[in-house]
């Protein structure tokens, strides 16, 4: 359909205008209608969403007084060893939270899908799973502070560990990482569950039954019939979750304030620290632009190997 001389450049935010011009004449009336309908709304939203991004880029390459300073802010951003520390910590956090969220969400969805037949129980599980998404972030942090804190936290009380050697969930490095990641897991595994469970409902029952007649085990049934249906969903969930790990802020701020030391100073806390504590908005913008570029690259690479879309 598009074999009309468009070069195979990857989708790029700023290339659309040129592409429209070069190919306009070659298109059918229907194809022209696509652009006529798409342009007004998409164009407006595109501009509205892109202006702040451009302003952030401008902020990153100018000084406070407004002069152009080139890539100085990027240089300073990349020259700070604390950046790499925070990337490492964010990576560890993601490595703990994301597999559990995604595999856990998927596993629970499979379990419920295969064993729970009662619509009422399914509905109850479903309703419960939506709750963590709508709670204000700060309140999530506060509740888990009541759970994890030493002395007045309910967890150590329930574990019977209230003495001087109780586990310090919020201030010993490995435990603080686990505590903050566990909040993420608590909040977002149900979201993955909902997506996966709903996805499983759309697998045609004929294929499942045919496989069962052929004597497929539970595993092969999942591997060859359900997984192909779920794969694009898994990718989408992965992208959304990774994008959200980079925004993690409130519950960490309430629980540990980034401590002990810099153990839980994740990327978003680090950028906040540079932007608002160090009042260095130029560097913070440079960091944000870098994060976005890196994420987009990552996303493009993943999509190349694991396409989520026919296109």
């Amino acid at each position: 359909m598009s074999g009309n001389g468009v070069n195979a450049a990857p989708a790029h935010p700023f290339a659309i205008g040129a592409r429209i011009r070069t190919t306009w004449m070659a298109r059918s009336r229907q194809e022209q209608l696509v652009y006529k309908l798409l342009l007004p709304v998409f164009g407006t939203v595109f501009v509205l969403a892109t202006i702040p991004f451009i302003l952030a880029v401008i902020q990153a390459v100018t000084s406070d007084s407004g002069g152009f300073i080139g890539l100085e802010n990027f240089g300073r951003a990349l020259g700070n060893p604390l950046l790499y520390e925070s990337i490492k910590q964010t990576g560890i956090y993601a490595a703990i939270a994301l597999p559990i969220e995604i595999l856990g969400g998927l596993g629970i969805a499979l379990l419920v899908h295969r064993t729970v037949r009662s619509n009422i129980i399914r509905a109850a599980i479903y309703i419960a799973a939506m709750i963590p998404i709508v709670i204000p972030q700060i309140a999530v942090g506060v509740v888990f502070r009541l759970v994890y804190a030493a002395d007045y936290g309910i967890l150590n009380v329930l574990l019977g560990q209230t003495g001087p050697h109780q586990p310090l969930w919020l201030s010993s490095p490995p435990l603080a990482m686990i505590a903050t990641a566990s909040v993420d897991i608590w909040q977002w595994t149900p979201f993955v569950y909902l997506v996966m469970f709903a996805g499983l409902q759309t697998v045609p029952s004929e294929s499942v039954e045919a496989a069962q007649v052929d004597g497929a085990t539970t595993w092969t049934q999942f591997r060859h019939i359900e997984l192909p249906y779920l794969r694009p969903l898994l990718l989408l969930v992965l992208f959304f979750r990774i994008a959200d790990v980079i925004r993690v802020f409130d519950h960490v701020y309430v629980l540990t304030g980034g401590g002990p030391g810099t153990t839980t100073q994740f990327l978003s806390l680090y950028i906040y620290r540079i932007g608002f504590k160090f009042s260095d908005l130029g560097q913070a913008s440079a960091l944000a632009v870098l994060v976005m570029v890196a994420m987009t690259l990552f996303y493009t690479i993943v999509l190349r190997f694991l396409p989520a879309d026919r296109g």
Partner: protein
Amino acid sequence: MKLRKWLAMLVPIALVASACSSTPSSGTATKLTIAAVQGVEDAGLKALAPMYKQQKGVEIEIVEAPYDDLYSKLVNAFKANDSTYDLIMMDDPWMPKFGTDGSLSDLGALGITQDPDIAQVVWDVGTWPPPRGPVPPTETSKAKQLLGVTIVGNVEMFMYRNDLTPTGPTSYDDVLANAKAQNKQGSVAGYIIRGKATNPVVADFLPILWSQGGDVFDENWNVVLDNDASKAAIGFLVNDLKPVAQTDPGSTDASDRDKIMANGQGYQSSVWPGEINTAVLDPAVTKVAGKVTFIPIPKGKSGKGVGMMGNWLLGVPKASKNQQAAAEFIKWMLQKDTQMTYAQNQGIPSRTSVLKDASLTAANPYFPVLADALQAPPNWRPRTDQWNAVETIIGTHLNNALTGGETADQAATGAAAEIRTLMKGAGYPTQ
């Protein structure tokens, strides 16, 4: 058809909302909007607002934000020259930033004059550039202006359990000796460290640092956080006090400290006047009523006990369209009768005569101590617009040391090196 009903229902709501919210604010000063910090610090202010409306016919709208959020909000508002706020509450370490950026109006020019009944340090802390101590290199040529007036006369103090020891510590040697004697594992902590990363741990530590003869900067902005006295002070916190402190200093913030103290599970700690009423003196929760004495910061190796100022000031943004009316409100707030009412409603006054007024002492046993602390005078945090960054650096390293991530010496040298890089980058003659 369900959908159409939905849409029909929602769209008018949206339109009405847009219409309602675009009511223009009136140009005359019938209303003043104050950006205030959320918490006990603005309780008194909230009590005064209806009185002002009654007496002067001007409505006071108080818009609250939590500590960190208020700061970022003000930074944003000033950057955009926004006129929403006619008055702003600011913590005194924020003043250098706002002074350097020229965000606030000169209150002297608006008719506010110094009053001898209010301690000199209160006027000094609201003056920019600072009348004493090192001045940032960009600020040396500016004329001195009064940019803020204290409405919460916070000075960090010290508290101890008078039922456990009849006399309190007079020196940090006493603090340590008493902590060792009173520390009973699992029931009473000898000392409560407020050690949560960044701002909290620094607020707890600076009085110790200063009293022990250390400092962050010298008179010429050289970093001295890694000199012997400063290292010893960090060592005192990490190596001496921590072993006789509560279970988990690394995640303890003010509210946790107050809870431990109010429950009778701690012997002593530093304390801000602003936090006393939330727990230790709150009859609904305290188990140590009448058993806590408030005293000035004990003396350290420097021979002095140096309290830390944490004054909340009221300033008028240059962008405000109601400058004179805002200044009139400040003047009214400083009147003695207003301050009395203010003090009776959880406000922390700054007038010496009010702080020493016998009728207030029963409910606020720390007032006379506060009056003396203000006369001492207490130290303020270094007057530089880089303070937030410096505080974050120190607070991260101290928290790391308190949780075993590095030694006290490593914290001192690590923080000092980062602060040097920061200050040089900001154009200071730091060595």
